[in-house]
């Protein structure tokens, strides 16, 4: 039987606010345990949550960026369950009246993936199981994260392959980063993804039984987990079995999905309206104001990079995947107007250097204005492409130095004096009599070796064009 895969994704994105969603505790990550808690986020009786306006602003911004309809009225609800990381015994979330509905993300193929809804909710605390206490009869609870604002973004089951799911996720993450509402860090958990996946006979319009996948903390793992799970489901069905509706965890070490022990009523959350929070009706003016702050979105920027700068799609993708890198590229191009040259230098030299030093483009020591000067020096013939690499490396080491200062300090100016180069050429011809003979006997490749020798003696400073010309001329005369 030919099967079709159906995938829907649920993303939880942590919002980049200063404070928590319902109280004024700091939402900063990585602080001393239980140092950012108050009676509200500890779930003490008799306290009142008050909604952080920034959370609504960021969520509306997200809704607009994802082409959603911002709802005229929204409410919060209580989602009831017991777990030690949830002090109140319920999570304040949105159920019937979410903030935004009916959006869309367009993939590069032009295929549209529907966004069912975007809603706001609070995060739970963190449970710690310290390895040193492996035999301990208890777990530890840190509630700094309890009440940190989250956005849940639910897609329609519109994806038909793990690759489409991965692309959707990357575009979504890039969008959230571009509009500066979430840092999108999957490893640190500020961008988390659960997947619903099922398979059905190709051509069928009925959905198969879905399995929920959790615990995938990178794009690659999402793709791998989906691929594994689809194969598992195909195997079960082809052997005459049936799929259980269940939650399965991705095991990154074994590269398999494992059924999670779960009580049958675990999904019985008994939602009801949160009586401590009033309804919210975002004003049209406010929504309009927020829409004015939307920047150029990643996929639009990517297309523009290809058409305006005439660089390959792959290169454009690399740039837009990191907003700051795309910004850096554009800034350099604005200064020197040579997009392809800049692009190649960034992709071939700069990225490797950044990686080597383990720093981000934001901390890049080479300022665009110095980058531009280096390219100018190449254009003017002051330095060769080879020397430029040395200059580039020096600029990377000492951020304060300009390209011309480095060229001067290190004496890297290109030699264009024909007498000076001629003397080196003569000495090479004299030293490499054997190579010269084989060249004369028709082995044209030998010329490259001779050019290389001249460059070596000149420490890379001789103008390669002049070296070539002089060598040919002098060899002819022998």
């Amino acid at each position: 039987m030919v099967y079709e895969t159906v995938i829907g994704l649920e993303v939880h994105a942590q919002l980049l606010t200063n404070t928590k969603i319902f109280c004024s505790c700091s939402a900063k990550f990585g602080q001393t345990e239980n140092s950012q808690v108050c009676p509200i986020c500890l779930g003490m009786p008799g306290v009142l949550p008050v909604l952080n306006k920034k959370v609504v602003e960021f969520s509306i911004k997200t809704g607009l960026a994802l082409n959603c309809k911002i709802q005229p009225v929204m409410h919060f609800d209580r989602k009831n369950y017991f777990y030690p990381d949830l002090p109140k015994g319920y999570q304040i979330s949105q159920f019937d009246f979410p903030l935004a509905k009916a959006g869309v993300i367009e993939l590069r193929s032009g295929k549209k993936i529907g966004i069912t809804r975007v809603h706001m909710e609070e995060d739970a605390g963190k449970l710690v199981h310290p390895e040193a206490l492996e035999n301990a009869e208890f777990s530890l609870v840190d509630l700094n994260r309890a009440g940190v604002p989250l956005m849940e973004i639910v897609s329609e089951p519109d994806m038909r392959s793990p690759a489409e799911a991965k692309e959707y996720l990357e575009l979504l993450r890039n969008t959230l980063r571009y509009i500066e509402v979430c840092d999108g860090n999957m490893e640190e958990g500020s961008f988390r993804c659960d997947a619903n996946v099922s398979i059905r006979e190709y051509g069928s319009t009925v959905l198969g039984t879905k399995v929920e996948l959790k615990n995938m903390n990178s794009f690659r793992n999402v793709e791998l987990a989906l691929e594994y799970e689809i194969e598992r489901q195909k195997k079960v069905l082809s052997e005459g079995g049936r799929i259980n509706q269940e939650t399965r965890l991705w095991n990154v070490d074994k590269c398999i999905t494992i059924s999670m022990r779960s009580k049958e009523e675990s999904h019985d959350y008994r939602y009801f309206p949160e009586p401590d929070l009033v309804p919210f009706t975002p004003a049209m003016d406010w929504i309009k104001e927020i829409s004015m702050t939307l920047p150029e979105l990643p996929l639009i920027r990517e297309k523009r990079f290809v058409s305006q700068y005439n660089i390959p799609l792959n290169d454009a993708q690399t740039f837009i995947n990191e907003k700051e890198l795309a910004d850096y590229f554009e800034e350099c191009v604005k200064l020197c107007n040579q997009p392809r040259v800049v692009s190649n230098w960034i992709l071939n030299e700069l990225l490797a250097k950044l990686k080597e030093k383990n720093i981000s483009i934001k901390e890049c020591p080479i300022k665009p204005v110095n980058f531009k000067e280096m390219i100018e020096l190449m254009d003017k013939g002051v330095i060769s492409g080879k020397i430029a690499k040395t200059v580039f490396g020096e600029m990377f080491q000492s951020s304060s130095s300009s390209a011309s200062a480095i060229v001067e300090r290190m004496g890297l100016t290109q030699i264009v004096n024909t007498d000076e180069i001629g003397a080196i050429v003569d000495s090479v011809i004299a030293q490499q009599a054997e190579v010269v003979t084989s060249y004369k006997n028709g082995k044209e490749k030998a010329l490259g070796f001779l050019v290389g020798e001249v460059m070596k003696i000149s420490k890379g400073k001789a103008n390669p064009k002049i070296v070539n010309e002089l060598l040919l001329k002098k060899l002819k005369g022998i």
Partner: protein, 95 residues
């Protein structure tokens, strides 16, 4: 709609409540009385009436995103039955 002992048991479990056998009978009877009353209300025509989530007419109460003071650890832990350093402790949770 009516509820039996099994339904009461399930709701109790979800709410972390523990019932004795005879309490289950009492609860089922009382809840059924309440449900019968609610059923009467359900017969009223409420078409065109907006759901009442809140009884007060206020809406759009926000706070600004400004960090305030959190509690000192001493106060945070003062009501905790079990603690370990800066953490609350709970019976071991296995994921």
């Amino acid at each position: 709609m009516s509820v039996d002992k099994e339904v009461i048991k399930k709701i109790a479990r979800l709410a972390n409540l523990y019932y004795k056998e005879d309490e289950l009978d009492t609860s089922a009877r009382e809840l059924n009385q309440i449900l019968t009353y609610v059923e009467k209300l359900s017969k009223l025509d409420t078409g065109g009436i907006n759901p009442t989530f809140q009884v007060s007419p206020i809406e759009n109460i926000y706070r600004d995103d400004i960090v305030g003071k959190s509690l000192d650890l001493e106060h945070v832990m003062s009501n905790a039955p079990e603690k370990e350093g800066k953490f609350f402790t709970v019976p071991k949770i296995i994921d």
